[in-house]
Amino acid sequence: MAPKSSPPAASNVVHSLWKAYSDQTSDRMKFIDAFLVFLMLSGVAQFLYCVLVTDYPFNAFLAGFSSNVGQFVLTASLRSQVNPENKNEFKEVSPERAFADFALGSIVLHFFVYNFLG
């Protein structure tokens, strides 16, 4: 992201950051980001439930929480690989290949999660 030429007022930082993000990010990246936010919120909710209410059964917590974390990591790597700005770093990885890796990794992850959940 390109820095702004003149520093905005402190109250406007968030607003300008949001504006810059919505102006300069492609729809695809925004779509991935929305998914990431969903995963993060879901993970936070489970962690709070574990801390505040109960960690029993602990294996279910580990499965639910790690499915969020794992999915987040996989989606984040998909995002960095399909981002046009990173084209030079992932020359040999086409967006299709990146998505195939992501899908395979996710399916394996979910397989383990459901085994561990019960």
């Binding site: 879901s42 909710a45 109960t54 029993y56 279910a60 917590f61 499965a63 998505f99 996710s106 979910h110």
Partner: protein, 442 residues
């Protein structure tokens, strides 16, 4: 006199049943001086009539030996030769103890004289007064020497018949140690005491009393007839004087018209010692889960377990074992080093001889034992031990789909659903973009 004797015989025969037999064997060795043998004819003939197989042996006779090839020759031994100082070489305190270890039962009579047997009594926690000091009492007022004493018998005693007439006693008393295996049967009258009459010295008595630290041999804490049940279950009865079994005392009236209780008393003592009365056994034990009948070798923590024991009592009248539900204070322990559970094992109403307890296995895995350890004075000690393993639940033995875990389930499922939606929309967007690109190119 003869008439009275035969009458007593009849009464004794009817009261005890004629074919009563012991639970451990019928052969009895009676060690008695041949010329004194007839003094005990009422008692001994009574035993014979019940079906015991009596063998007589003089104290110094070499045969028959009590232990041959490490095997006891007789099931029971009565030692009435209380005044002998010298016995045949196979009758020693050591061999008598060995006999007890081999499940032979003994009745041993003591006397005021110092014999090998009086030193053996000390090994059974019975402390005898010094030699020559029998028990005497001047009450109640009666004819005859003060050393021949009528002793009233406790009205209810687990070994003796109810409401026995007083028994005549003459002999030596003993004070009881605190050995839990002792079973007091007959206590001395409160006004009696041990005193030197026939050749004992008063100084020796005072010295011994001071050394013993328990005061003079006097009063009702003294024992006259005391049983001892070994850890193996064999029984030995120490009798202060052999005369308690004699015909003379059996036929001697306690007061005008009241016969003595000696014969029935001797019969009851022999009955207990020879494993006829108060003999229990555990036939079998079972354990299983509640609502199941299959016996498992291992249980899971927190299982509901039912344990049952079947207990029989020996009935000497019919020589059979009959189910017995009369024990009220039986306990079951579920132990791993320490009892994790100790619970009452109560008789099951309607099922004779069955005792049962249900309990929850502790939340602790390991090798546990069901233990019954029932030791009561005068009763056969009951012991049983069954080893089982208590294991944690198997991987699929835990409860599943708990309501507390629904947030986690929702989290995992929503992640999967979101992944599929994301993938579908990603691919749809891909083709959409390509189409848009294609339009542009055209």
């Amino acid at each position: 006199m003869v008439y009275l004797r035969s009458l007593l015989f009849l009464i004794a025969g009817f009261a005890t049943g004629l074919n009563a037999k012991s639970s451990t064997g019928d052969s009895v060795l009676v060690i008695v001086e041949p010329k004194q043998q007839d003094n005990y004819s009422l008692f001994l003939n009574g035993l014979k009539k019940q079906g015991y197989d009596l063998t007589f042996r003089a104290p110094k006779a070499e045969a028959p030996v009590v232990i041959e090839y490490d095997d006891p020759t007789f099931a029971h031994v009565i030692l009435l030769a209380s005044e002998n100082k010298v016995f045949a070489k196979d009758i020693t305190p050591q061999s008598l103890v060995e006999l007890l270890g081999k499940k032979t039962n003994l009745i041993i009579a003591l006397s005021p004289k110092q014999t090998p047997l009086s030193s053996l009594a000390a090994e059974f926690s019975l402390t005898l007064p010094p030699p020559g000091t029998p028990l005497i009492s001047y009450f109640p007022k009666r004819e005859g020497p003060p050393s021949v004493i009528p002793v009233s018998v406790p009205a209810t005693h687990s070994i003796l018949s109810e409401n026995l007439h007083p028994v005549w006693f003459s002999g030596v008393p003993h004070s009881l140690g605190n050995n839990p295996l002792l079973v007091p049967i007959l206590r001395a009258p409160a006004e009696s005491f041990a005193a030197e009459t026939d050749g004992g010295s008063p100084d020796a008595l005072v010295d011994a009393a001071e050394r013993g630290g328990e005061g003079l041999w006097a009063g009702s804490q003294l024992g006259l007839v005391t049983g001892f049940q070994t850890l193996d279950g064999s029984r030995v009865t120490w009798v202060g004087g052999a005369a308690i079994f004699s015909d003379e005392y059996a036929t001697k009236e306690v007061s005008k018209g009241v016969p003595s209780g000696n014969l029935q008393f001797a019969r009851d003592v022999a009955k207990w010692t020879f494993q006829e009365s108060n003999v229990l056994r555990i036939d079998r034990t079972t354990h299983n889960l509640v609502n199941s009948t299959k016996s498992l070798e291992q249980y899971t923590t927190n299982d509901q377990i039912v344990y049952s024991a079947y207990i029989s009592k020996y009935d000497s009248k019919t020589s059979t074992w009959a189910p017995y539900s009369g024990i009220k204070d039986l306990q079951l322990e579920f132990t791993m080093l320490d009892p994790h559970i100790r619970t009452a094992l109560l008789p099951v109403p309607g099922v004779p001889g069955k005792y049962s307890a249900a309990f929850r296995a502790p939340d602790r895995h390991g090798v546990f034992k069901f233990l019954i350890n029932y030791k009561r004075k005068g009763l056969t000690s009951l012991q049983s031990s069954t080893t089982v393993a208590v294991v944690p639940p198997r991987h699929d033995g835990y409860p599943r789909f708990l309501s507390a875990a629904w947030p986690y389930y929702t989290g995992a499922i929503s992640t999967s659903v979101a992944f599929f939606l994301f993938s579908a929309m990603w691919l749809a967007g891909d083709s959409h973009e390509k189409r848009a690109k294609g339009h542009k190119a055209e």
